[in-house]
């Protein structure tokens, strides 16, 4: 920012020298100070009227913010234009390098490079990423593995913090290191900051390696849920290190605090989630502002829980998860797309900015380097993570149906990246800590190590170890049917066994949801719709929109198998001429609609999302027409019975000739209708 001030001064000097009437003055509408200065203004010689005036101070803050964001996005754009680069180096590494360069540049000019302000980070940059993650959290794998995730998040993080803190304290006791002033509590505080797996870093790296769903949800879920542990440990040790002593009561209060922080955060999030769902029930006339409700309620949930020192991340996740099924049943398709794209956009920008600022902050310092301490921290980080994962998996596997293999364990351990949250927490430490600079340096080194070394090598390692990758999933209606079928089957068999298990309680929750909750939160009659039908309609809508956009008539499916092949003789053929007529009319209608779509005026208050629905109803009309044709046929029943016999005979292979004759007869009969 000051750089630009210098630039402006330079420019002014140049132009005044040339004599052009250009002035850098106070903002045009500012009050003119005291009477005295006003008088002196009049006594000055009359200057030429300023045709062009530069006033940087007026726009300074927003200008700088916009410039930083633009720089960040241009960098991101640049990476993806270089083909080989993005395949080898993960984006996060490149962005940190860019941050380092920018920071270096600013320092060379002689200005102070800006440090990642903790308040800016926690209140502006972090929430979009977490909301994006929480809103699109894949519920099924998450709930199936929630026990494992919680064990890793809570017990794993505790283990990391105490192991690292303890061993570092032991290290500091050694005379040769020169850090004998560091007490146990400070080390434990440091341990608790560095021990938590960071969701931003995990997201950034894992997004590019497309690992299988199980491992992904384990690491990612852990990074989200360990926030409560981090918050409690951080606050606890911060308080203790001021006081200096710890009593049993304090430890007990700490445990209670943990439960309050995590459950309280979830509760706050859930409350806002229900509010958002309830609000969305009434938005059918103001579709344009629907997405805003989602964003604002979630942000309020985050801020409210931060206000009470509860876990903001868990509140955001809870809010997103609770609100999603109901909101999606209420909002229009366009609002859904808007929400999706805005969330992705904001989280992308946030992530980019975070990494760049990390680089810049590294250059800014302040640094205190101690080889032994820093190197030991990095090594201990890895060691404690590996030990923790192996130990916990050994226990967890006794309770899991799908056991975690060695490969899975390796990726979970290796994917435990540290990131900007650790840095911000370190930065928040008050300056009274004499070790603050040392801690910051160590934290930055750990972050760099995990992001660069682990982040870059995880992709080739995944390939090398042949870890299972994410499957390309096209929504298949057969899979959907059978997933639901399996749910009911397993609930039923549990009932036969007399076992009140997993599926029994899930079924109870579903029923409660359907009878009470959905009634209040979903607009209109939609709450009665079972999931399968909703899925089917979504698929239909998607297909119809695709067809409309491509301008084709919904005639034949790309695989050239149509209804005829499944129920050949049941559809009585409309005469060729009539079919052509119908096609012509439909085609003309479709053209009309397309033109209408483009020339509709855009009104602030309503979006004509009836557009899509119109064309979809054209498609539906055609489908209903075919349905009616089927139903009208009287021969349907008789023909299908005949078919059965025919297919049996066909298998015997003797009556092929007879079959084709009978087919033709059947067709002729239908044609008349």
């Amino acid at each position: 920012g000051d750089f630009f001030l210098m630039l402006i001064r330079f420019l002014r000097f140049v132009f005044v020298g040339i004599g052009l009437p250009i002035e850098a003055s106070a903002p045009a509408y500012q009050s003119h100070g005291t009477e005295g200065s006003h008088l002196t203004n009049i006594t000055n010689t009359k200057k030429a009227f300023p045709v062009l005036a530069v006033n940087y101070e007026h726009v300074r803050k927003p200008f700088e913010i916009a410039l930083w964001i633009l720089l960040a996005l241009l960098m991101k754009l640049g990476f993806h234009l270089i083909p080989r680069l993005s395949a080898v180096v993960p984006e996060s590494c490149l962005l940190i390098v860019v941050g380092l360069l920018v920071g270096g540049l600013i320092k060379v000019i002689g200005e102070e490079p800006p440090v990642l302000d903790s308040q800016l980070f926690f209140l502006c940059l972090l929430p979009p990423i977490i909301l994006d993650a929480g809103y699109f959290l894949p519920i099924r794998p998450f709930t199936e593995n929630v026990g494992t995730i919680l064990v890793f998040a809570v017990i794993g993080t505790l283990w990391n913090a105490f192991f690292m803190g303890g061993l570092l304290y032991a290290l500091c006791q050694i005379e040769s290191v020169g850090l004998s002033g560091v007490d146990l509590l400070a080390c434990l505080l440091f341990g608790s900051i560095v021990s938590a797996v960071d969701p931003v870093a995990v997201l950034a790296v894992f997004e590019e390696i497309h690992i299988n769903e199980l491992v992904h949800i384990l690491v990612f879920g852990e990074s989200l849920l360990n926030d409560a542990v981090t918050v409690v440990l951080y606050n606890l040790f911060e308080e203790f290190s001021k006081v200096g002593t710890v009593t049993v009561l304090d430890v007990f209060l700490g445990v209670v605090c943990f439960f309050v922080v995590s459950l309280g955060g979830v509760l706050v999030g859930a409350i806002y989630g229900f509010l958002a769902a309830f609000t969305s029930r009434f938005t059918s006339h103001t579709r344009v502002i629907e997405p805003l409700f989602v964003f604002l309620y979630s942000y309020m949930a985050y801020l409210s829980s931060e206000m009470f020192h509860l876990s903001g991340i868990m509140a955001l996740i809870a809010c997103g998860v609770v609100m999603r099924p109901y909101v999606e049943a209420n909002i229009s398709h366009k609002s859904y797309t808007t929400i999706k794209y805005f969330l992705k956009m904001w989280s992308s920008v946030s992530e980019t900015l975070i990494f760049i600022f990390l680089g810049v902050s590294t250059v800014a310092g302040p640094h205190a380097w101690n080889w032994t301490f820093v190197i030991t921290t990095v090594i201990l980080c890895l060691v404690s993570r590996v030990l923790g994962v192996i130990g916990l998996t050994f226990i967890i596997n006794k309770f899991r149906i799908v056991k975690l293999t060695k490969k899975d364990q390796f990726i979970v351990a290796y994917g435990g990246l540290r990131g900007a949250i650790a840095f911000s927490l370190g930065y928040l430490l008050s300056n009274s800590h004499q070790m603050r600079n040392l801690f910051l340096t160590a934290i930055i080194t750990v972050i760099f190590f995990t992001v660069f070394v682990q982040g870059m090598t995880i992709r080739p390692l995944v390939e090398l170890l042949a870890v299972k990758k994410k499957k390309e999933s096209k929504p298949s209606i057969n899979e959907e049917i059978h997933t639901e079928f399996l749910d009911h089957l397993l609930t039923g068999v549990e009932g036969v066994c007399g076992h009140y298990g997993h599926y029994h309680w899930k079924e109870k929750l579903n029923r409660f949801n359907k009878t009470y909750v959905k009634r209040w939160l979903i607009a209109g009659e939609n709450f009665k719709e079972p999931e399968l039908i909703a899925f089917y309609r979504k698929m239909e809508l998607k297909q119809a929109i695709m067809m409309v956009e491509s301008g084709q008539l919904p005639s034949v499916l790309p695989s050239t198998i149509s209804m005829q092949n499944i129920q050949p003789r049941a559809i009585p053929r409309v005469s060729k001429k009539r079919e052509e007529e119908i096609r012509r009319i439909l085609r003309a209608n479709l053209q009309n609609n397309k033109q209408k779509m483009r020339s509709r005026s855009y009104s602030r208050h309503t979006l004509f999302d009836a557009d899509e629905e119109d064309d979809v109803s054209e498609v539906r009309l055609r489908k209903t027409k075919m349905e009616m044709e089927r139903r009208v046929s009287v021969m349907e029943r008789r023909v299908s019975v005949m078919e059965r016999r025919v297919s049996v005979m066909e298998r015997e292979g003797r009556w092929r000739g007879r079959v084709s004759v009978m087919e033709r007869e059947g067709k002729c009969d239908g044609e008349g209708g």
Partner: protein, 216 residues
């Protein structure tokens, strides 16, 4: 079936354990449950399963109950249905829901997958002709949606038709307009559901069953 009267004998349990893969403990628990359901008789009837209150609100309860009395699930190459089953047959049906062991080779996993999918296939193929026809599939979807009233029937038809189309296009790919796709064979069924990883999903934890909390 008199030979299996006193199942507290070790050799009987051992034979069953070998056949079905359950542990002795699990067999003991399931036996207690069997006796409770059949009111201490040797044979279990449909009416006994009907009385289970948990099954009452399950949309596919008829199919579930039928599966227990379907001879195809007894691994004895039988056919048709029976009126009552013994404990051994009960156990064999239950063994379809055992989780796969930890270290299995790819072949063994494939075998387990086939077995479980065969169970599902038998549930759908009610007339036992080796294929699931459109009518049978429609019936399956209708039952699934049977709780949503009249609106369900038409949509069920649409869904079943779309699903059938999908199977045909995945398994066969291209058909002439006058060819007829008779029904889903077991091979096609395997193909369309191979991504669903059924060996990890179709399981029940038999370990921690507490018979004292069993229902009336």
């Amino acid at each position: 079936m008199g030979a299996l009267q006193s199942l507290s004998d070790e050799p009987e349990y051992r034979e069953l354990a070998e056949k079905t893969g359950f542990s002795f403990e699990q067999i003991g628990i399931l036996h207690k449950r069997f006796k409770q359901l059949s009111h201490n008789e040797d044979m279990l009837r449909r009416a006994d399963l009907d009385t289970i209150p948990d099954l009452a609100c399950n949309p596919i309860r008829t199919q579930i109950i039928e599966a227990f009395f379907d001879k195809r699930n007894f691994h004895q190459n039988g056919d048709g249905t029976v009126e009552e089953i013994s404990f051994e047959e009960f156990l064999v049906v239950m063994s379809h829901f055992r989780p796969p062991a930890l270290n299995m080779t790819e072949d063994q996993r494939e075998k387990v997958r086939r077995e479980k999918l065969r169970f599902l296939f038998n549930m759908h193929d009610t007339d036992n002709d080796g294929t699931i026809t459109l009518e049978e599939y429609r019936h399956v979807v209708e039952e699934l949606l049977s709780r949503s009233g009249a609106l369900g029937k038409e949509t069920a038809k649409g869904i079943a038709d779309a699903a059938m189309l999908e199977v045909a296009s995945i398994s066969i790919g291209h058909m002439e307009p006058d060819e007829f796709y008779e029904g889903i064979t077991f091979e096609h069924f395997l193909k369309i559901l191979k991504d669903i990883e059924i060996e990890t999903k179709m399981n029940i934890r038999f370990l921690n069953m507490d018979t004292t909390t069993l229902c009336k």
